[in-house]
Symmetry: D3
Subunit: 303 residues, 6 copies
């Protein structure tokens, strides 16, 4: 269960409106790596966590912080839209290139749909999707995704930092940059802790090493013609997992037979000349499982 | 430019059809972490790479391999659908629970739309989206995403490995598991190489450290009531970047003022009682930039 | 079955082209509350209606009108695009800020994809989705959605009314505003009629009142720290359904136990330390339903 | 800013696993009217609210409660999946129709992607979308949407109530039903309060009544051939807004001219025979606004 | 403007319910090639048509028919769902494999969301999208798309015809098959008519033939290793346009230089070693267009 | 399996940056008819092809070429973005209308997300979708889609050709135009070859002609009021399939009974007055199939 205070985690006070920038800031609320994604990614990871104690507590602390970041960005966008010339007519705009230019860079939905507020969408207006988040139950896989998402989050924040001169906006972004720095360090520390605690190792998942085709677990297939692909550590030396030797397959040949579909079911009307023979009879319905045996016993005439 | 050989990278030979499993395998072709995603993620990263030499060559080698993996999974799905009872009538199915059960687990579009082939969609039928891929130009951020995606890829492959007994399917998955093992090692090595070459450091992007609010770059805000959030290395000791000290803020208070939107533009009809005053006049259209100065000179009467 | 006349329901005659406004008008054809949504929402409600007579007839009348509104907006957009500088080169545009500004605010797909016509998308270019519509079979729930959608429809139309000075465009919008006024009144009347006819009451669905946990059906949980949440009628007095008393829970405490997932299936590789014990054996496959009994009788050796 | 306690708002304790039901419950977390939608709809309405005091406080109280409902449903789904036969092989399933049947009704992504947890998607696996939410700034329009969404929410919960016999699941749903009852009453009360406070009236937005074409604001256009469309109160008597008289247009004729696009720009290659004449010259780039005047003065030779 | 009659274009009378088939039929209402697509594709083509007379009249006739097909399929789905065991509990289902099997193949949203009616989605539950339709203004391109969509429509209908034994369903499908046959003939005739009328020719658009690099307009690049790609008429003889000679490039070499991005803007933090030099200064802002000249004159000190 | 060379198929050398045009070019990489679509459409068709020899070899040759076109457009976009004023602050932009205008027409995600590279999205920023492609197994249906997509591809390329004056961009587009010309001729030839080889005929699929309701396979239903719908060859003479006579139904009447849903299941709470009687009992679970018979024998007391 959650509780809320009306006070923002950090100050959100732009010096003056900037509707073009309000459009760009949408990326930090509803983009693939925006605050909605980290919020829901961490919440779902926390609720899906099967360990009790420090890891679950960590995830829920960070997740709860991130809801407050959605709040901060949504508030910043609304404040950047104050006094935006959304309702000036296009005719006036055409006579005033500055206004026209600004209107060209605005998000029409922030005015028409949200009435001067933020949308739950990215900087191109595409709605945020639940498909962005990652919560697999495997914490090494998930924490690696978390490091990545915080890296992209800080990268996009830094790019946006250079796109404004407003000291109030920059002040908030300096806070966001700092949190993204810590969160990268945080998830990197958590990955090491998982290994130190013996819960996970280098390869995800930590299983089936003896089952996989080991001879194919070690080398880069050289399938493009760049000359330097074998110059990096991925092509020689001990692998990160301490178990394999990295290698390089300079002249790879395909190991499989020719690609082809099976003969098609005629009732599906794939174009076909019969050259591969008749398709198999539907297998699963006719094989003798329990039901097949019973059917034979009870109703032998039914085909 | 690309070239293609009809031979598959590895053998794709299921022992017999299994339409329910063909449905599940869609996750590996069109899911968030499926072969389409690694293919297009690596291709776009390679084309967007601003370095010449080993890194670009590496990315293009792996990217080109992955197109062949889409080919393998698409072929496997078609072969698993051979003889599937897609065109049996529902009436028969209802009389034969085994068939009915199988049909309940089938992907209707593999029959109706693809005529017995793979869709470019996940195991719930949601089409693959270009929004899944990550290619930011920053190679540390991107390689971290690559480690994560290969981790999830091997995780999902391992889960699917347990969902079939078909030795032919298992044989192909053993190859895929091995490649995913190597690719995790590969991107981990590439991350170290980036640092060794002095191109990137621990925090993405490697900049604005002196600008961000440093006092907020070090501690976990304790916003959930779990008792153990301070027990991990993220809460004490030197951070992964070697620059900060990890910390813990046990009793955080919000630093910002109360959340509130600005006074609304009356032409947008947000419900309002006037308590926060009139909204600002649209700012950008009236301030004196170059155009404003010119307008005043040429056409002083125009407002 | 439908019939069509080439004459528009109302005149659609802009005085002159305005491609920036044509972009914004997309919201009224393909936005969440645009004409496509009301058209398909009412059609699906009408076809899903299980009553014969006035309600079904009403819905089909309005639904059929709305197809004609899609026609009107699509026509308006095409006419606003006449002579739009879509094919002027960017180079010329850069030398003429007015043109450049206009081009910045245009919808590129109206030119590149539709050849100077409307798209079936909103003002940010996101395609209309069948997921927008509501047709549940429960007419009280659906008519409430209809009141809401007509309210947002008129709201967005009013906002757009202020964004143009073209008398021809304004004339069409005055018609749309009037229809949206009537349609709000219409659905409000239909809701009252449903109650007067004894088909529905205040709460949807009109059932399970005696089953639900009645003690939780009456009060606002005070989970944010605003001071005035108990000042409105939702916090005291008889509720709208005439059955409950509204209330206020000033200091709520959670009623449930700690959030936690169950012990995970090891074959799914959720990170786990075993602290919660083994997961249950898959339950549904082993319990003795009809099939289990039969299996035991016919094939006792099979596990 | 938010805080979280690990205790759930209400108990979530299914008696035993039921993976088919876990699939259906996805509708209540990630469907159009699921808990994610109410959560984000209310949060965005609260942050976009331009009033201080009771309305904003109300919205934030309810919004904060709803995050906890996402938590409850996500937990329920994970617990319903405990011991689900996700990793049994299809081969075994085909021999055991009960298992096969259950697997046919499972959500493959709950196992393959989420590792035995909830997805942020609906019961057909479509990811939740930020496009579902409504936060326009106009509180009457928004509260009407809120009444509708709580009506659909209770309706879907009631339908799902009949699809399970598990007493633990039913117990949680009885809580959800009760909250949905209160929330319908709550928003109905809030709508009355808005009117009592003089902030809004019956028609949204409360403006442009004198501008719209009043003669079209009163009658149902009879465009389908049902005989009873004029039998309801929408067709006679005083309208809900107390301002108009409802009416019925039994034999409507179109008021507009024939539908037609303008003559097309030849560079866009719409098929055309020239019958409607040449398209207008692009208007906005050549008309004499400020820039045009300046260009003429400074660079008269440039066309 | 449209009118509606309550009578269906053709009879829709299934002999008995079949919820699994109702699920599959969703493809014909909300799939890529379903009735929603043809309806909106033809409506938008008709409204975007720039010719008056037979072509526009043809398109509007067919478009209007197709709305009635959406009506037919939606009605069929509702009738196939009558008496579907949607509200039986899962527990009972698990004890009755036939019911369980059927439930596994049902669309959960048809019950939970639509209350026993059709969704506006495909057979995997993905909502219909406005992005499916094609209305470019160029009628040859559009009519080719129409031939294709009617071909896929009849193909899917034929596949579905084999998936049922219900004589009532088959009767309706026989009507649909017939209409799809005629509509293929119709659009093939319309394509010939466009050419006969001199409005379009073989290649779309009928322009820029003298501008394109003619030497690349004639031959298949042999980039895969199949041996027979030159055996078809695409590789020799006069082309369909009567203008080119088809050919075959047996051993193609790339004509372009090496793929590479430009040097990156340092403020965007693409990983870079400086090897390709500094990026260009932003060009468009500094070049001397009209504004540049004016700025130099009025405000020479501003950079 | 695939191989890659770093050399582009054709030169990609813009004379100078043009970020507005880079935005528009997104349509050719990630739009419905962009290079991603042809690439994946042809790959999936090739892998799903059930013929060996010339058709499969043809498809794989063209498919492999198209991956290289994605590469070309992605490279062109990155080069057009060199030096784009992405990181200039909005404040400066507002003072310089040329810069502001350009920024208004830029794709914010190309800077913020891709760091100066291409997105896998269309010109409105909507991500590419796997739902765009067509690969049905029926090669006549698919090749007709291929003719259509190449027609739209060349149409959009021609439109974009007029939107730039950059000789380097135009040079690449001249190559693309030529390939699209050949590819239209190619698929038209392949369609004729399919017929010449006796694999397919005019109507898709080439079956069920004797089953469909032949009397409805021949005439245009005149449902709109245009006067000339019977003036084209679709309304008279022998049809394209050589089998039917085209016709015209001047005054069509509906053939079906009145539209209505069945009586609803009370547990789904559709509004209902009982006028159509009780809904049928769920049929499939109770009818006597094999399981029913067994249940009666083994457990006669169970209902």
């Amino acid at each position: 269960m959650f509780r809320h205070t009306d006070h923002l985690q950090f100050d959100v006070a732009p010096e003056k409106p900037d509707p073009v920038y309000a459009h760009k800031l949408q990326e930090l609320i509803g983009g693939t790596f925006g605050e909605m994604t980290v919020t829901m990614q961490y919440l779902m990871q926390g609720w899906n966590c099967r360990l009790k104690g420090k890891y679950k507590d960590l995830i829920m602390d960070v997740a709860t912080e991130e809801i407050g970041h959605v709040e901060m960005i949504a508030t910043m966008i609304a404040r950047l839209l104050e006094g935006a010339p959304a309702t000036d007519s296009t005719k006036n705009a055409a006579g005033d290139p500055v206004v026209a230019a600004v209107m060209g860079g605005m998000d029409p939905q922030q005015a028409i749909v949200a009435g001067g507020g933020a949308m739950l969408a990215n900087s191109n207006g595409v709605p945020w999707s639940g498909g962005y988040i990652v919560a697999s139950g495997n914490m090494l896989a998930d924490f690696r995704s978390n490091v990545a998402i915080e890296s992209h989050g800080r990268l996009q924040t830094a790019r946006l930092y250079h796109m404004t001169d407003d000291p109030g906006v920059k002040d908030m972004l300096k806070f966001n940059l700092a949190r993204d720095t810590y969160h990268q360090n945080l998830w990197l520390a958590a990955i090491e802790e998982l290994k130190a605690d013996g819960l996970e190792d280098t390869i995800v998942p930590n299983d089936l090493m003896d089952v996989e085709h080991a001879e194919h677990a070690t080398s880069l297939w050289h399938l493009s013609d760049g000359a330097d692909a074998d110059k990096g550590r991925w092509a020689y030396g001990v692998a990160a997992d301490g178990r394999h030797e990295n290698g390089f397959l300079a002249d790879p040949v395909p190991l499989g037979s020719a690609q082809a579909g099976p003969p098609p079911d005629p009732k599906l009307y794939a174009t076909y000349d019969g050259a591969m023979g008749e398709p198999r009879t539907p297998a699963l319905g006719t094989e003798k499982g329990m039901l097949g045996k019973i059917k034979d016993a009870v109703d032998p005439d039914k085909n």
